[in-house]
Subunit: 153 residues, 2 copies
DNA sequence: GTACATGCAAACCGTTTGCACTATC
DNA sequence: GATAGTGCAAACGGTTTGCATGTAC
């Protein structure tokens, strides 16, 4: 098992408590993947989680990693990150706040103009990155789908 | 061919001029895909571009759509948009400004904390979306890769 | 004991590639 | 005429799925 600081251990236990409450089973694989994700200070792919845990858990399968990451995403503990020009999905445990508006129901993607501070400049000065382009995505439910959902009740 | 307004026609001709300058060939497929993308007010997938153009261009292939979208992306005319929980890449002709910071060279993904206005609230009031989560991505070259590139000169 | 989770391997599907052919320049 | 671009079909690769088995409860 990954070694967690006291603070992270609290987080870890809180998620386990959440699983118990939901009557989800707490398996060795699940604990290992959860601990890995909580401890991770990078944004691993499923493959990377699998490789890193395979040493300690030789019987772990890639499908199980995907299954558990999916569960963690569905429960709101982990965020998916997609990067252009890369088929891989990366996973981030409770990613920080990180505008296209995407409807999670119908998949429609809309543009939205909103007043923003000069993020690129700020990012550049703060990180030393040479900024080439940026992408702000907001996920939600569009008006049409909200209506449809209301009508469905 | 898609019918373009005068303004869009100027844009279209400008891109063609760009291609001539680069000694890229201006084929029927290329013109059709470009015009489609310039006229599009949505964010089509390659598949959708292919389907929509297939009527007028029955011999057009999906691979050619991918090739040309790739070219338009490489030349900076089109932006790719990736959405979580969806394998598809969407394409946006000169997307509007739309903070994970992603290094285009090494693929490293970093978190960054930046002061932002209450975007979600603003988006919600402006669009009527019910916001559930958001994702801000900035692409650039990280300090390490900048150094490596400088050293390579 | 029940049924959710796992592991394996095969299927899936968006995207890319290899190659012969076509058409732009 | 040279060669970049095209079209087709096959390959690729990240992710998902079906199913038999294992195990948390």
């Amino acid at each position: 098992m990954i070694d967690l600081t006291e603070e992270l251990e609290v987080e870890y236990q809180a998620v386990l408590a959440h699983f118990r409450k939901k009557h989800s089973r707490i398996t060795e694989s699940r604990k290992a993947i959860l601990a890995y994700m909580i401890a991770a200070n990078h944004h691993p792919s499923a493959e990377q989680v699998y490789k890193d845990l395979s040493f300690k858990y030789p019987s772990l399968s890639l499908a199980t990693v995907y299954n558990n990451l999916r569960v963690l995403v569905d429960e709101g503990f982990v965020t998916e990150i997609k990067v252009t020009n890369d088929k891989t999905t990366y996973f981030d445990y409770k990613g920080h706040d990180h505008i296209n508006v995407i409807c999670e129901n119908c998949g429609k993607i809309s543009d939205l103009e909103v007043e923003l501070p000069d993020i690129a400049h700020e990012v550049a000065s703060q990180t030393g990155y040479h900024i080439t382009k940026s992408q702000f995505l907001i996920y939600g439910i569009c008006e049409n789908c909200q209506k449809e959902q209301e009508e469905r009740l």
